[in-house]
């Protein structure tokens, strides 16, 4: 085991997979000479050269499409978006060209590609640079969607994504890039796509969440433990496919569920989980499912307003207190 930041874990995952398979390459804005806008691709140009680590112009629809075409031709591109906010320029290519082609071709043409980059709010970058796209991509059959929290999962899931023969959306988080976690040294450290992880067991309520919010939920759980409320925290890790079995097993034990996401609750991941729990475990619920999400506003710049708009550990703890006091 080694202590790695999420940033280093992502870099190592790419480097290991590029060593393993000559068809894997990285392209995106500032990925090569600048070493990544967030330094995620540090050292890759030096090791793999300009043929496999490719700086693109600022042209998201164009390079997403080129990556997809290259994937149709049998290569395994990793396309980095400087942030997923810019991927909206390319979302037609992702949805219409990457996600649907295998189905539309009756299985003749597949698209093995990874789209990765930071997603969601960073810090004080205002509405156009702060959106969470988890529910947008989770809506699309043909895509796999991943949103890891820890460095270990970031590495193991990115390696799984690169080896996956389908288009994979890999949602990172800028605030997590610098956080450190224990990570296995093994080049065979792969985390299967579609499996959630119970990161803290508990008996009173279940918190299902992903990405940065896993940390907030764990913080809330600590505070609640001091008050005698024992919550279970599930790190979803994959958003599509969603590991409902792990959520349902937990809900059957705790009988209470809170979903937490940074994005807006409306038509969000929490809404999806809530509906599925209602369909499949209604009788196990002692209280209605509670959704915690970002405030239903474009994210403001002012520090105090930004903080108010995003779920905090305290918001999550409050939701748990309310839920556990109801019968």
């Amino acid at each position: 085991m080694a202590e790695l930041t999420v940033r280093e874990a992502l870099r190592d995952a790419m480097a290991e997979e590029m060593r393993r398979d000559g068809d894997v390459f990285l392209m995106g804005e500032e990925v090569a000479e600048y070493q990544g806008a967030y330094k995620v691709s540090q050292g890759l140009l030096e090791e793999f050269g300009a043929r496999r680590v490719i700086d693109t112009p600022i042209t998201e629809a164009g390079f997403a499409g080129i990556g997809i075409g290259a994937a149709m031709a049998g290569l395994k591109p990793i396309v980095e978006f400087m942030t997923f906010n810019f991927a909206m320029q390319a979302i037609d290519q992702i949805v219409n060209s990457a996600a649907k082609t295998n189905y539309m071709s009756g299985g003749l043409v597949s698209v093995p590609i990874v789209f990765r980059g930071p997603n969601g709010a960073a810090s004080r970058v205002a509405a156009q640079h702060s959106q969470c796209y988890a529910s947008w991509y989770a809506h699309i059959p043909g895509l796999k969607v991943i949103a890891p929290y820890s460095a270990s999962d970031a590495k193991g899931l990115l390696k799984a994504a690169i080896r996956d023969p389908n288009p994979v959306i890999f949602l990172e988080n800028e605030i997590l890039y610098g956080q450190s976690f224990e990570v296995s040294d093994s080049v065979d450290h792969i985390v299967p796509i579609g499996s959630a992880n119970v990161v803290r067991p508990g008996r009173d309520a279940t918190i299902a969440t992903f990405s940065l919010m896993v940390g907030k939920a764990l913080e809330a759980a600590e505070a609640l433990a001091g008050e005698g409320i024992d919550v279970e925290v599930i790190d979803l890790r994959s958003i599509r496919p969603l590991d409902m079995d792990t959520i349902l097993t937990s809900v059957q034990k705790t009988n209470r569920l809170i979903t937490v996401e940074e994005g807006w609750s409306t038509a969000g991941i929490g809404a999806e989980i809530s509906a599925t729990v209602m369909e499949r475990a209604f009788d196990f619920l002692d209280a209605p499912v509670k959704r915690v999400g970002g405030s239903d506003v474009p994210l403001p710049y002012a520090a105090n307003l930004e903080k108010l708009a995003l779920p905090q550990a305290e918001t999550i703890a409050d939701a748990a207190r309310q839920l556990c006091s109801s019968n």
């Binding site: 042209t59 075409g69 290519q93 060209s97 082609t101 295998n102 389908n166």
Partner: protein, 342 residues
């Protein structure tokens, strides 16, 4: 268009038989047969659409046959082709079985895409054809991606990327031009300029109508080609292919062509006059042109061409029969091919 028109033995140009042929007997007859095959296929598709056997959108290629036919003959195995939704002819040119194409149009299990793609989404990777894409202009970066893959692998294969005069105004086409030129990708961008983006004429949509100049800002050499002349198409493509294989970067070919039918089956084409259409058919028809060349050169006569027509018709009728008698996909196909199993 109804059945084959009766042709007099005198050709339009009035040239005498025995003049120096424009191409060999074999080449001319191949072009004639392949273009006629496309036309008859599309006419049959139009009929089947009218009978309710084909649904949704169905865009016919009638009038444009020379473009894909002349182009395909300049390619070799390993080269790739990609286009928008007017793709039946590209499938035929790439060697797909007309039965499987027609069955796809009819939404049957025996269709090339198992009935899940339809008219706009057909692929034949072993023939180098990769669709069949429904979002106008989106295939331009995809085609550049095939060029990227060839360059990455260090082979000398080329990627032919078709789009229309309508798509030529999409932003991502210019994004593809820029990167193809920047990275010297072996891509032949082919604008099939049939003069109308659905109902909008090029005069109403485009500030500079010389689409062959569209690549100039990126250093991409462009050439306007008579897209109704299969020999001109082939010659221009041969040159472009050679340039790409020599690693000289992308090329742009603007094929001046014309579609006789509406944009799709639901389009009565009221934005142009009947006279305009019939003038092109009479004066520039790509199949009649090759027919004339065959007769002028003494390679064929009405009788021998009638035999070709008969054989083509039989093949297309067989494809239509196959499609009509083929079963729709089984219900459990609904949930296959969504993702590939790892």
């Amino acid at each position: 268009m109804a059945g084959a028109k009766k042709k007099s033995k005198t050709t339009k140009s009035g040239a005498k038989r025995g003049a120096k042929p424009a191409a060999s007997h074999e080449i001319l007859e191949t072009y004639y047969r392949e273009m006629l095959r496309i036309r008859r296929f599309e006419e049959k598709a139009g009929q089947m659409y009218g009978m309710g056997l084909i649904g949704g959108f169905c865009h016919l290629y009638i009038g444009q046959e020379a473009v894909v036919t002349g182009l395909q003959h300049a390619l070799e195995p390993g080269d790739s082709v990609i286009t928008g939704y007017r793709c039946h002819a590209h499938m035929l040119a790439a060697g797909a079985d007309p039965r499987a194409i027609m069955a796809e149009l009819a939404g049957r299990a025996g269709g090339v895409s198992k009935g899940k793609g339809g008219s706009m989404h057909m692929f034949i990777p072993e023939g180098g054809f990769y669709g069949g894409h429904g979002i106008v202009g989106a295939q331009a970066p995809l085609g550049a991606g095939f060029g990227f893959a060839n360059k990455y692998r260090g082979n000398d294969r080329v990627s032919v990327t078709f789009f229309g005069d309508g798509a030529a105004n999409q932003g991502q086409v210019f994004e593809a031009f820029n990167m193809a030129a920047l990275w010297k990708l072996p891509v032949i961008f082919v604008i099939e300029n049939n003069q109308y983006a659905m109902g909008t004429s090029i005069a109403r949509s485009t500030a500079n109508k010389e689409l062959c100049q569209r690549g100039e800002a990126f250093g991409i050499r462009g050439q306007q080609v008579d897209g109704m002349d299969v020999l001109a198409v082939n010659a221009a493509t041969e040159k472009a292919v050679a340039q790409c294989r020599a690693d000289e970067g992308p090329v742009l070919l603007e094929m001046m062509t014309y579609r006789y039918r509406g944009h799709s089956m639901s389009d009565p084409a009221k934005y142009r006059t009947r006279e305009e259409v019939s003038k092109v058919r009479q004066e520039r028809d790509p199949i009649e042109h090759v027919r004339d060349l065959l007769v002028e050169a003494g390679f064929a006569d009405d009788d021998s061409l009638r035999e070709v027509d008969k054989a083509v018709k039989a093949e297309i009728n067989d494809a239509a029969d196959f499609a009509q008698n083929n079963l729709p996909p089984a219900a459990d196909e609904l949930f296959t091919d969504i993702t590939v199993s790892a």
